[in-house]
């Protein structure tokens, strides 16, 4: 008994000792400026915690070629992450480099003058041909650029090649062909398309609307059009028809999309190109087990093919401890060297057309995306103001779970949109 208590006492005492020597303030590793011993380290924060190995791979490259490396801190929870970054601006722990979102999230930070501008970096990168001019507007607020693109992804249709071969199907080039493919699958008891009621519930709304009326899609995100407009209602009705006729897998199935495609639970997944990395991780081989195609427009009369893209920015806080090095790193990130390393580490496309993407189909898409026949549209998730998005995700989640009259849902979203745009003046 005496022994037990002395153990407790010893533990309590050891607290102070261990606490005193371990951890502490991290004033030792900050720098990158004039530190002779090894490469300088930049504090790097991201909500894509699962990408740590890939970020560190690129960091290895930068340590040799740039003399700067990433001190990685990953979050697995996007919401906690956003709150952490927001609050960190009040403190002395401002992040040197961090991933963020375009759209209203970015505007929030710029409105409070919290970011270091990157206008010069952008100009150089565009002059070098490292980044397409078209991307710039998403990083521009009041004629200044902020952040650099961390990644880019296009939303395409992945499919299970074995299933396509089994039923003698080929990649469709028109919406009608796509529907024929889907009907064949349906007739054979295979759910054609993946659907989920969590987070990515907006994907088919985005595809159907962008492929039917891209102008309306854009107008919706700027508040110029209403969710109750006939065009939007029509798209919802089309979606509802597809849901009711069994074109989709079970939206309540929380099995990861890559597993659903692998198992043949669904034959096709409408997803961002980052799914390639996830498919590779479940041992599916690009071109052999899976492939993808650009989703044809619903409306065949449109002059350009609507292609949804997303880009996540990498930003530097104004007055961060290593602001200069961080901006240097951001500049390097856009280069061919960095983007080749990044795209191949991730198994994804790159915004830099010069990057050597090993995956052939991805490389092809990389080129195709800059051609005239394609109209790039920002992903719904970034294009929509946060409160409107939240209401929309809730509404779409309920809609795909229990399809019904879309009007009440659209009215709810529009009410949120009205409130938002009224506040914006």
């Amino acid at each position: 008994m005496r022994m037990r208590h002395s153990v407790v006492a010893a533990l309590a005492a050891s607290t102070l000792v261990l606490a005193a020597c371990g951890g502490g303030d991290d004033d030792g590793d900050g720098g990158g400026s004039g530190d002779a011993s090894g490469p300088g380290m930049i504090n790097f924060y991201t909500d894509k915690g699962a990408w740590e190995p890939q970020f560190l791979e690129v960091s290895d490259v930068s340590e040799t070629s740039l003399g700067l490396g990433l001190d990685f801190t990953g979050y697995s929870d996007a919401e906690q992450y956003s709150a952490f970054i927001r609050q960190s601006f009040r403190t002395d722990e401002k992040p040197d480099l961090f991933t963020w979102h375009t759209g209203s999230e970015l505007e929030d930070l710029v409105a409070e003058d919290l970011l270091a501008p990157t206008t010069d970096i952008w100009q150089d990168a565009i002059d070098n041909g490292d980044v397409p001019e078209a991307l710039r507007e998403h990083f521009t607020i009041d004629d200044e650029q902020y952040c650099v693109p961390m990644n880019a992804a296009y939303w395409v249709m992945y499919y299970n090649k074995a299933l396509f071969d089994q039923y003698g199907l080929t990649e469709p080039t028109s919406w009608a062909e796509l529907m024929t493919v889907a009907d064949t699958l349906r007739a054979n008891g295979v759910a054609p398309f993946y659907e989920t009621n969590i987070l990515f519930s907006f994907v088919w709304f985005q595809t159907l609307l962008a492929g039917t009326d891209p102008d309306l899609y854009t107008a919706l995100s700027t508040g110029e059009a209403s969710y109750t407009d006939p065009g939007v209602v029509e798209v919802m009705e089309q979606w509802r028809g597809m849901l009711e006729d069994g074109y989709f897998g079970d939206p309540g199935d929380q099995t990861a999309p890559q597993d659903q495609l692998k198992n043949g639970t669904v034959a096709m997944i409408n997803f961002g190109t980052f799914l390639s990395g996830q498919l590779n991780s479940v041992d599916m081989v690009s071109g052999t087990d899976y492939d993808f195609f650009v989703i044809p427009n619903v409306n065949p009369d449109l002059p350009q093919t609507s292609l949804i893209f997303e880009t996540g920015p990498m930003c530097t806080a104004k007055d961060a401890e290593n602001e200069t090095s961080a901006l240097q790193y951001a500049e390097w990130w856009m280069t061919e060297e960095a983007q080749t390393a990044w795209a191949n580490a991730r198994g994804d496309v790159s915004f830099n057309p010069k990057a050597l993407v090993q995956d052939e189909t991805l490389a092809e898409l990389n080129e195709q995306s800059t051609s005239d026949g394609v109209r790039l549209l920002e992903r719904y998730f970034e294009a929509t103001p946060t409160p409107v998005l939240t209401a929309a995700l809730d509404g779409f989640g309920a809609f795909v779970t229990s399809p019904g009259d879309p009007m009440p849902i659209l009215e709810t979203i529009q009410a949120e949109a009205d409130a938002y745009w009224a506040e914006q003046g």
Partner: protein, 272 residues
């Protein structure tokens, strides 16, 4: 006679139901990722790959880095909390602290605040106080967060000890500290241990505080690395995620197993 068979029978049947999800966890964590199929979760198909999966999670997730710091937090935080909780329980019950109920409610009231909402002010406060991303800071918050629970349990448990015990010790000339340390604490071993293991498990599994209050590898607790094994943006295969989750649960499972003896003592109630 019937009761002698019925009691274990009911427990065993219930126990098997309770173990069904654990079975799913084990079976699927042991599957070869290439052979894993979502529509066959119940069946143990394919090669036994539990250890490969664990190794993958351990290495890619970098779980090893965080084990020592997390161990420190889960032992020291709850140990301090149990003592602090027992101390106020002792003050209220044995020393008849004035307005005891008020002070007790004040301390217990610490649990009513939703943890998510104090993260941000804590983060800012920690940075300003210079304890952000330090082990001292982590221990402090883990202690604080477990004190209300410890206080409630210990206050009620110590309340079961007759006041005559205290009086007798006073007559013997013992100091209050000595009575607390030598009489009351030893008499509440099982409650102390129960609170300790429950709270140690809580701290070991904490993700939120770890995310908000730490940044460097030496300070960040284990679950921040575990949670990053898989998220919306991909990550490891499900089999490896499960194996990783299982692996990091081993210490707490062992803790529960090794303390069972303490809870097996007691009066037989064979008559039920």
């Amino acid at each position: 006679m019937i009761a002698r068979i019925l009691r274990p029978a009911v427990l065993i049947v219930l126990g098997l139901i309770w173990l069904a999800p654990i079975y799913l966890l084990l079976v699927n964590a042991s599957k070869d990722p290439a052979q894993y199929a979502a529509d066959q979760v119940w069946r143990p198909i394919g090669d036994f790959a539990l250890f490969d999966n664990m190794r993958e999670a351990w290495e890619i997730g970098g779980l090893g880095d965080a084990v020592s710091s997390t161990l420190l937090y889960s032992i020291v935080g709850p140990a301090l909390a149990v003592l602090i909780g027992a101390a106020i329980g002792f003050a209220i019950v044995a020393l008849r602290l004035k307005h005891g109920f008020f002070w007790f409610v004040l301390v217990f009231g610490g649990t009513v605040f939703p943890l998510q909402m104090i993260l941000m002010p804590l983060f800012v406060g920690y940075v300003e106080a210079g304890v952000y991303d330090s082990r001292l800071g982590m221990i402090a918050i883990y202690t604080a967060i477990t004190v209300p629970f410890a206080a409630l349990v210990m206050r009620n448990f110590l309340g079961g000890i007759a006041h005559q015990v205290f009086e007798a010790a006073v007559v013997d000339g013992a100091s209050t500290w000595r009575i607390f340390w030598r009489i009351y604490l030893p008499m509440s071993t099982s409650a102390l241990v129960a609170v300790f293991i429950l709270q140690a498990t809580f701290v070991w599994n904490d993700l939120l505080l770890g995310l908000a209050l730490s940044q460097s590898t030496e300070v960040r607790p284990l679950m921040t690395a575990v949670a990053a094994l898989q998220d919306t943006y991909g990550g490891l295969q499900l089999t490896a995620v499960l194996a990783g989750g299982l692996l990091v649960s081993l210490p707490t499972v062992v803790l529960f197993l090794s303390t069972q003896r303490i809870f097996s003592r007691g009066l037989s109630l064979g008559q039920f």
